[in-house]
């Protein structure tokens, strides 16, 4: 394909939604922020959606917390912390139109229980909200929504929710919405999935399980697997210089674990993979800028 579709940025060039997921503690949010900055730098209008109610993405972009509002980090990059209940309420208002009904529905304990613990409604509402942002014309609209999704287990339920809801509710407005969003997340041309992992046993395991679930339920593959926080290769030659220190021993053993897990990942997943090094930088805008540069060069 012309226009450099061979690399990561090229492949994400036309996506409307990029879902960044992975096991907790692997640097998922940092990668999401870096990806958001990168796509904005390449000319797309980006909305970063954060789902964690304890906001922290704004630290990474050096902007004030969103508090549920949209804040601009740069001319083409904006951030919003999404509160699922508010999104569901807005959706009910929009769809029901009759004020009395709206009030009764929102006040009903059944509604509260079903949205809170219920069958994928909350997840569906978040995706509908994302889709709405991309569809919006003019000033307030975005070309792409980068979603900092919950950690793997919940991340996959976010991606599978539309399919489940569409199955349970085949007809009607809710069913139609579910079908529409299910089609979006199943379509690699419009929606990208980025899995973030570290080269350790459990995160690699979860990533492979997620890849299998995406294939089984949505018939699709992720856009890329980002392996984050790699120790640099340890120097060869044990005897000379500082070779005998415990730190060097630790370094060699850790690196060996990483190489073993990278190999395991590569055996099971032959698609695109990005390896990001462990950087001597605190969590903040600086590390995001460094990762943005590395992701920009990624295949």
């Amino acid at each position: 394909m012309p226009g450099g579709a061979a690399n990561l940025v090229g492949r994400l060039r036309r996506q409307q939604l990029v879902v960044v997921t992975g096991k907790g503690g692997t640097g998922k949010s940092t990668v999401a922020a870096a990806l958001g900055r990168l796509l904005a730098a390449r000319g797309r209008r980006v909305l970063l959606l954060e789902l964690d109610p304890r906001e922290n993405l704004h630290h990474l972009l050096a902007v004030p917390p969103s508090g549920g509002e949209i804040v601009a980090a740069s001319p083409r990059l904006r951030l919003e912390n999404v509160q699922p209940l508010r999104v569901v309420e807005a959706l009910v208002r929009e769809r029901l139109k009759v004020q009395v009904l709206v009030r009764r529905v929102l006040a009903s304990p059944i509604f509260q229980h079903f949205v809170e613990g219920g069958p994928g409604f909350k997840e569906l509402a978040i995706l509908v909200h994302a889709l709405g942002q991309v569809r919006r014309e003019g000033e307030g609209g975005s070309d792409v929504v980068v979603l900092d999704a919950p950690a793997t287990g919940h991340g996959v339920s976010l991606l599978l929710a539309p399919v489940l809801v569409a199955e349970a509710i085949p007809h009607g407005p809710v069913g139609r919405l579910a079908h529409e969003v299910a089609a979006l997340v199943s379509d690699p041309a419009r929606c990208g999935v980025v899995i973030v992992t570290s080269a350790e046993e459990m995160p690699v395991q979860e990533s492979l399980e997620l890849i299998a679930q995406l294939d089984a339920a949505l018939g699709r593959t992720p856009e890329t697997v980002v392996v984050n926080g790699l120790y640099p290769p340890a120097p060869a030659g044990t005897a000379a210089g500082p070779g005998g220190t415990p730190a060097l021993h630790l370094w060699r053993e850790r690196r060996a674990t990483y190489e073993r897990e990278l190999a395991r990942l590569a055996r099971a997943w032959v698609g695109p993979r990005v390896e990001l090094p462990l950087l001597a930088l605190d969590r903040g805008p600086e590390i995001v800028a460094a990762l943005e540069r590395l992701l920009g060069e990624a295949a």
Partner: protein, 374 residues
Amino acid sequence: MSLGALDRPLVVVVGGGGVGKTTFAAALGLASAREGTDTLVMTFDPSERLKDALGVGAAARGTEVRVACDTPGRLDASLLDPRATFDRLIRRYAPDEASCRRILENRFYRHLGGSLAGILEYMAVERLFEVDAERRYGRVILDTPPTRQALDFLEAPDRMLAFLESGALKVALRRWFDDRGRLRATAHLAGIGRGVEALLDHVVGLDLLRDMAEFFQIWAPLYDGFKGRARTVQALLRAKGTVFVLVTGPGEERIADALFFARRLGEAGMRLGPIVVNRVHPAPDPAAVEGGRADPGAAGLQLFAWLAARDARGLARLRGLLSTGDLLVALPLLARAPTSLEALEAMGSLLLGELAAAGPARPPRRLPRRGKTA
């Protein structure tokens, strides 16, 4: 060596994802059995290597399996399987074979019902109730899912009770459909009724409502039992004999997590014992970092020096933010994740040594109960 602050009949291990919580629980279990107490480690999702180390495989799913270790106390391990527990409860309590099969095959139960009001998290708690009621162990060590889900998990009995006592259930329990599968509430309204039916069908679909109504109806005879057990577990989690260990990492982003968790435990009236900061990078020998400047590995060693300094900074910050009564224990990042019984024992002794050094065993802190906001 004594388990000090962790010498309690029920130890609940909580913390974020990727901090080595499950490994910690296994090491603690081994230390407990070594000290002479019959111990059970209940865990959710251990790595393959850890399962191998403990010698427990799929056989331990939903039941206890003996760990082959030569300790004065017995060590058992089990893998919590919420769905299997739920299925078993239904099989045990369903009035007859037919209604049992109807629940198990109900579409709502199979696909969606699981997440309703945290039922699956609650099922793990049910298992805890069963084990506690049997009183076969001197100590139970309960590993929990990562942070957010762990909160769901700990709050599951409360949420379950709230759900069972709420009006939602009464509405759900009403007979919504007549024998022909038509909505009862609308039947007598003739034309208008069919309009309402069509509207409901239009919005959520009658099939879904029918499945849900059936699920709640078949499940109804089990509610009272559930309520009683949920109350027992609610009390158990807050009992004097229960202590929570918070496992966390030294990184900046983990500090907020740890404080959040400590606060939520306190608000829920649960007792916080030691806070374990796991996987702290040890400081490399400064001479090696300096002296090795010409060495090809110098950049890497400087990275390690930076990581050690970052971890020390995080540890100091966390210590500063905790109250003086809190017990803070740091465990080093190990060259290899402990994946053998020997390595787990070594980690356990390291932990007990650090616990003893960190302070005398004192009753775990019980935070004042605050409002539900926060």
